[in-house]
Symmetry: C2
Subunit: 356 residues, 2 copies
């Protein structure tokens, strides 16, 4: 690949756009004759051949083998997406399906995320993914220890992100309802409004010690705070892997396997999208979709894939991410419109409905 790309005159740009468009639709390498027959270019195939040879030298096209048509390179797709492609809007039908879906969507965050990936994979015909907003920076709001019976209690922690942890504890000795209430009140007044990650174990222990509660209860409180802060298991969902089987590029079992492995390894999948969450939310305008193509994904297994990502807002609870993964040969315009539209509806749904 060239460091510096060839400048494109108007005709080259049109030819490149047409090659990409045709290849996306047919999955077959595009030849000069096909081009002149199907599109009104006003010149002969010989001229197209000359132009295509220059586009190949310039790094926009590649030839799978001598005497085959041309296929776009990463740079070819990139140029197409950034400068040549006509932006698309949602079709009426897609809009309706998205609206219908969210009208009866769940009120539980994990379920909504899950349903959204199903919707998006169905509409896009590709693999769809979603991650929930991270809870790194949530503020502590409330802790409550609730007396259930002499030997069992419920502890619950609420943050600005909603209920962050709850758990039933069993005690080896009887506990007193008043003690639990006093401890709850003390913790609330001490930590109210603080950011979760700043609330340390020693400080929690100090409060327990002040009130003279048993070691067992002190341990329980520390545990439930730790759980509320935990961010190691990000909420992530994926759906539609079987859609990829329809794409000729995945008829090769090795490639398919590599993709499936990535999808099941939630960690890799998360990193793939989360990169975008940190890097891009600062640099691009709010809510803009973003496309990464082939090697831009920095993973060999995904060298023939592209990913469309788009952030969604969850009120003041942070930013999540929707993503569509498919072959590089994907209908970028349509998928960008779909992802954006779905992200918008998802955000609205999350704000309208009280999500726990």
């Amino acid at each position: 690949m060239n460091d510096k790309l060839l400048e494109l005159d108007k005709r080259k740009a049109f030819i490149l756009a047409t090659v990409v468009y045709e290849y996306i639709n047919t999955a077959e390498p595009v030849g000069s004759v096909t081009l002149t027959q199907k599109y009104n270019l006003g010149v002969s195939s010989a001229t197209i051949r000359n132009e295509m040879a220059e586009l190949e030298a310039g790094g926009y096209l590649v030839q799978p083998h001598t005497s085959a048509g041309r296929v776009p390179s990463d740079a070819g797709y990139r140029t197409y997406v950034d400068r040549l492609m006509a932006p698309e809007t949602l079709t009426k039908d897609d809009s309706r399906r998205i609206r219908d879906q969210f009208r009866e969507a769940s009120t539980e965050l994990a379920d909504v995320i899950d349903q959204t990936t199903r919707l998006l994979s169905g509409l896009s015909g590709n693999l769809a993914m979603a991650i929930a907003p991270s809870r790194d920076t949530h503020a502590f709001k409330h802790v409550q220890l609730i007396w259930l019976s002499a030997r069992t209690s419920l502890a619950i922690v609420v943050t600005s992100g909603g209920v962050a942890a709850q758990r039933v504890f069993e005690w080896s000795t009887d506990v007193n309802a008043d003690d639990l209430t006093r401890l709850s009140n003390a913790l609330n007044s001490r930590f109210g409004g603080r950011v979760m990650e700043d609330i340390g174990a020693t400080e929690i222990d100090a409060v327990s010690a002040e009130l003279g509660v048993s070691a067992e209860i002190g341990d329980a409180v520390r545990t439930v705070f730790a759980t509320a802060r935990a961010t190691d298991e990000p909420e992530i969902a994926a759906a539609g892997a079987q859609n990829l089987l329809d794409q000729p590029e995945f008829h090769d079992l090795r490639k398919l396997r590599a993709i499936l492995r990535i999808v099941e390894e939630q960690r890799t999948l998360y990193d793939l999208i989360a990169d975008e969450l940190t890097a891009e939310s600062a640099s691009t305008p709010d809510g803009a979709p973003h496309v990464r193509i082939g090697h831009e994904l920095r993973a060999d297994e995904l060298a023939e894939c592209s990913v469309v990502t788009v952030p969604y807002r969850f009120g003041d609870r942070g930013v999540g991410m929707l993503a569509i993964l498919g072959p590089r040969r994907m209908p970028y315009g349509r998928l960008i419109a779909l992802a954006s539209g779905t992200a918008r509806s998802l955000g609205e749904h999350l704000n309208d409905v009280e999500i726990r």
Copy 2:
């Protein structure tokens, strides 16, 4: 397939067992010469040929085409599993890996289920699934409305299955902490110990009305009870679909697609296993693994698959199910041992750790 199967004498039984064993290991149709060469049968290949012809007539073996070796039929596998196969126990290595896994497993039910499927798919080299115990028959234990601020409250319902619902509500007018406490106490004394599904909306409304709380709060209470009772989204997890790609029987993309679709359609997957949960938990000894082979699964897409299921106990909270899905040509003995061992460890883990 024959209604009545041929009686098997000792030699036929041994030959059938050997054919199944060999086919499971090689994935190639088994011929008479292979059999005499690899196993000490004491007779010539011609004799084996005669026996195999009878086994085929009896419905235990089939021939993919003339002049190919034999392959077991559903009945052949069934006989092997029920009567011919030597039971296996967990290897030291597998035991250790299961133990290690649960030593550091999560305390959250959904996560444990998820991690268990990953473990089991990794060990078995097949697709693993798990469903959590249903919460149909849980008993109501406690409800608490917690004052967070003048305009926000937290409602939480605890059942014998743990925390069944929690949700933050925002009010249009200020609410009073004492009102919330009084309502909580009234609900607790009214419903304590009852089975969740017997607690109706009208009865809940009656309590709210008695205490004269606002309609808004009344609605909230009804909503949170409804959520706690909801069983429509069964907790189900699956992992290891990519393992199936290694099996030659899934190199056919259509078959693979059908399987992947089933895995993503959680409903079908759930039905597949839940059948077993209701039908079998009554009829088979507690905790016994169960195998369903090919057409026994009553799904055309799964005609070439088998499923091993094994229930696990979650204390007094009901029974869940682990399952392994793979080609009929699966190492039944090993998978049964793995599933049983994992189910046992999972049950122990769920009882040891306080799961929320």
